[in-house]
């Protein structure tokens, strides 16, 4: 059993590699440029990046000054 299951396993590996070798790829410069563009486009909508004032962010405690 082990002999044929090795062959079966190898056949699956070869089929998978054939599939992976045939996919379309893009140059890293292009992919990197797209990632960068996405970051920049969405930078303003990112509260952790831009910081949110205490009044609108429910997690930041509001600084309350009280004069006693």
């Amino acid at each position: 059993m082990s002999g044929s299951s090795n062959i079966l396993a190898m056949k699956k590996i070869v089929q998978q590699l054939r599939f992976e070798a045939s996919i379309n790829r893009v140059k890293v410069s292009q992919a990197a440029a797209d990632l960068q563009q996405f970051c920049i486009q969405n930078a303003l909508q990112d509260p952790l990046l831009t910081g949110v004032s205490s009044s609108t962010n429910p997690f930041r405690p509001q600084k309350v000054c009280s004069f006693l």
Binding site: V14, A21, Q30, C39, D46
Partner: protein
């Protein structure tokens, strides 16, 4: 080809040759059949073309692997941080613990946000699963699981249920009720069954389907209502530790990372592995898609986080420092994808600039290793859970 989901041995008459022999109970296209080992071998050999031997297949696989490497290297014309040189550097970040959620009696292992951006579910080693209101730090629901080490928990998109699992090898769904006195454990529904521990689970875009990954090396897609297995994903050679679904509404791919150092991208409908990345030096503990869906980050025991681009089909950035020697347990992106948060086993959280590859900030606060980290759905804060029994909200 046989699709062996479970392999068990019983004794009896073979379905093919009718001789009484030890049988292999295998599943052929989800139908169980009982063949003796001789008939299974004969059936397996029928799949081979003439002249295909182990040796020829091995050499072909080696050739294909080198060819893949060459193809990938051809397109590697520049590094991500070189492209990002012209981008403005990020300023100083001040992020502090804004809330501390105390209540777990043991290590917090996993957490997830509700889509209402306010509620959180967390699970711990002592078997407790707690639903919190993160703004007020109140506990809304608590369930005690029958097993310890609840390593996975997830919130349903509707906010009406939570799923969790761990050493019980199952994923159970608990519908959340508004009635505080209701016994949640009574309504529990067992959905997934694996042959080893459950490492991660996630609802798909609806409450109706759950994706799970397990220590048995497989991932699986289940229908919640019937508990039926819809699709299984085989390809990892060792435990699968993490998974993440692609962000798009129509998306039907997900990425998984495992102890075999590989991160695989799968097609949910066909069950096929579309892409595979093997550059980490150790177990991959966490994977998370980039917000655009074109890339994903991974965190590993080799103390690095890496960014893999799906269209370029390669790793495009490594986030590491010589001074960081402890493994990464979990990673997540900020809303724009510019920041990558990593929870480390040295009790800290490192914040990386995704484009430039530099560390922006290091956050201290936890008193034991950070085990889980998720950014809230609206990006205003992120939550980290740790072995020090607490969860912290950072903003």
């Amino acid at each position: 080809m046989c699709d062996q989901t479970f392999l068990a041995i019983t004794f009896g008459p073979c379905d093919n040759c009718h001789l009484s022999k030890p049988l292999m109970n295998i599943y052929l296209k989800n139908e169980p059949i009982n063949y003796c080992s001789l008939c299974v071998e004969e059936m397996a050999c029928q799949g081979l073309a003439p002249n295909e031997t182990l040796a020829t297949l091995k050499s072909e696989s080696d050739n294909l692997k080198t060819k893949l490497e060459e193809e990938r290297a051809k397109l590697h014309d520049v590094e991500l941080h070189q492209v990002a040189e012209k981008v403005e550097s990020l300023g100083q970040f001040v992020m502090k613990t804004r809330r501390t959620l105390k209540g777990h009696g043991n290590k917090v292992l996993c957490m997830d946000w509700c889509r209402d951006k306010r509620r959180i579910v967390s699970s711990s080693q002592d078997g407790k699963v707690i639903v919190w209101d993160a703004f007020t730090t109140n506990k809304e629901h608590a369930v005690t699981m029958p097993c310890t080490w609840v390593m996975a928990c997830a919130y349903a998109p509707s906010g009406c249920a939570v799923a969790c699992g761990g050493l019980d090898n199952k994923c159970s769904v608990y519908p959340l009720s508004l009635d505080k006195n209701e016994n949640l454990a009574a309504k529990k529904k067992s959905v997934a069954m694996h042959t080893n521990y459950l490492s991660a689970c996630s609802f798909t875009n609806s409450d109706m389907q759950i994706l799970t990954s397990s220590g048995d090396g497989t991932c699986a897609l289940w229908d919640v209502e019937s508990g039926q297995l819809l699709q299984s994903f085989h390809g990892h050679a060792a435990d699968v530790l993490c998974l993440d679904l692609a962000p798009s509404e129509t998306g039907n791919t997900f990425v998984s990372g495992g102890c075999d150092k590989k991160a695989n991208v799968w097609d949910m409908r066909s069950g096929q592995c579309i892409q595979s990345f093997e550059t980490h030096d150790s177990d991959i503990n966490s994977v998370r898609y980039y917000p655009s869906g074109d890339a994903f980050a991974s965190g590993s025991d080799d103390a690095t986080c890496r960014l893999f681009d799906l269209r370029a089909d390669r790793e495009v950035a490594i986030y590491s420092k010589d001074s960081i020697i402890f493994g990464v347990s979990s990673v997540d992106f900020s809303l724009s994808g510019r920041l990558l948060f990593g929870g480390y086993n040295d009790y800290t959280i490192n914040v990386w600039d995704v484009l430039k590859g530099t560390r922006v900030s290091i956050l201290f606060g936890h008193e034991n290793r950070v085990s889980t980290l998720r950014v809230s759905p609206d990006g205003t804060a992120f939550c980290s859970g740790s072995w020090d029994h607490t969860l912290r909200m950072w903003a």
